[in-house]
């Protein structure tokens, strides 16, 4: 009855909890309660069952050979380990999650690059009180007055003044 022990990784629930985004908190809490319940159940069971006192039984039971037979069969018994059906599914989930996470991180990096570019533009901008109107139109293209569409001053619809 040697127990094979797949080493349980110690999980830092605090660090895990920090990383959970707020919209997934419910799922996280459910997972935690489930895990705690399982761990509690595991802890409540002693690792090895209580040993049977064969000598006492040998003296007590009158039927000849019964105890010896039981003892022999008991010692020879191999309890099959429960089959692990879920780990492969979990690994598949993990691979998929990795893929989607890397894709998300790529997108995130692209977004960060964009933001950085705009930040650069703002940092390298000349101060407003040294700008001319042309400089302003260069830096903020949306301020450029469309002199073709509205040829007469103020070059924009009156409502937008």
């Amino acid at each position: 009855m040697a127990g094979r022990r797949v080493a349980l990784k110690a999980i830092d629930w605090l660090a895990f909890a920090e990383r959970v985004p707020p919209n997934q908190r419910g799922m996280f809490n459910a997972l935690k309660t489930r895990s705690d319940a399982i761990a509690a159940k595991l802890a409540s069971l002693p690792e090895a069952p209580a040993a049977i006192d064969w000598s006492f039984y040998r003296g007590a039971v009158a039927k000849a050979g019964m105890v010896d037979e039981f003892e022999k069969k008991f010692k020879a018994l191999q309890i099959p380990e429960p089959v692990d059906t879920q780990t492969s599914a979990i690994n598949a989930q993990e691979a998929e999650a990795d893929k989607s996470a890397t894709a998300y991180i790529e997108g995130s990096k692209a977004r960060i690059a964009e933001y950085e570019k705009q930040l650069e533009k703002f940092h390298n901008m000349i101060p407003f009180d040294q700008m001319t109107i042309e400089d302003l139109n260069d830096t903020f293209p949306e301020t450029k007055l469309d002199k073709v569409k509205h040829p007469y001053w103020p070059h924009k619809p009156i409502a937008e003044l």
Binding site: E18, L31, F70, I90, A101, I112, Y115
Partner: protein
């Protein structure tokens, strides 16, 4: 304006030695190099220094080495007297008109100039402040957006924890199941052995009780009526003896 340029270039030609702060203006050399500066350097905040409202400071600095402090004044006085006496400038009605209008203009500017300038400056300030606000808001939101993205990336990195937890759960469940099986086997075996022992005990007890009952019955059955009468008589005589002895003691 051109006079100022003349003075500035004159100073440059003389290999201008340091003549104090008065010389150092924002001397912009316009288009002296083939490349134009971009962005165009900003216009100076204040115009060139002038004395008495019209005469540029450079004139005084120019004449200072040769004629000292009073030089330009003497030059001015001399020029004026020359023009009046030689009638290069003729005094007529227009002179007085010019003088009165000039004095009113000067008075007006001196009195209301600063407030008007402040008002115009305020208008400009507001425009600049609005633009600045926009820029600040944009900067703040961009930096925050970058931070958010980085935070989300950090969160995504924590996904291994989730799968570790899941695998742990699976392992724990398997282990629990295995232990339960072990315990079940042991308990079952023990129960069967205990049952055998209990069975044996029951047998023994039943045999004992049966035997006792049988012995009792046979003993009682073996008491003949004659023996019974004799034992009853003996009991009565014993009781009488006892009664006598107790009566005596009481």
């Amino acid at each position: 304006m051109l006079s100022r340029l003349v003075f500035v270039s004159a100073n440059a030609l003389k290999g201008s030695g340091p003549l104090g702060a008065g010389l150092v203006q924002a001397s912009r050399s316009l288009h002296t190099s083939s490349q134009n500066l971009a962005p165009v350097p900003p216009l100076p905040e204040k115009g060139g220094k002038v004395r008495h409202g019209i005469f540029p400071e450079e004139l005084f600095q120019l004449l200072y080495p040769k004629t000292g402090v009073t030089g330009p004044y003497m030059l001015g006085t001399g020029l004026l007297i020359y023009m009046l006496s030689k009638e290069i400038y003729v005094i007529n009605h227009e002179t007085f008109a010019a003088l009165s209008i000039g004095s009113v203009i000067v008075y007006g500017v001196k009195k209301f100039g600063p407030s008007v300038a402040a008002f115009a400056d305020k208008l400009n300030e507001e425009k600049v402040a609005k633009a600045q606000e926009v820029k600040d808001a944009a900067l703040a939101s961009l930096t925050q957006a970058v931070e958010q993205e980085k935070k989300e990336q950090w969160r995504a990195e924590g996904r291994t924890l989730l799968f570790d937890a899941k695998k742990n759960n699976v392992a724990m469940l398997l282990e629990t199941n295995y232990r339960e099986r072990l315990h079940m086997v042991t308990n079952e075996v023990k129960r069967r052995l205990d049952y055998q022992i209990a069975l044996q005990d029951l047998h023994r007890r039943m045999e004992q009780e049966h035997m006792i009952n049988w012995v009792e019955k046979s003993v009682i059955g073996s008491i003949t009526p004659q023996q019974e009468k004799e034992s009853i008589a003996k009991c009565i005589s014993d009781l009488k003896v006892l009664a006598k002895s107790t009566k005596a003691t009481v």
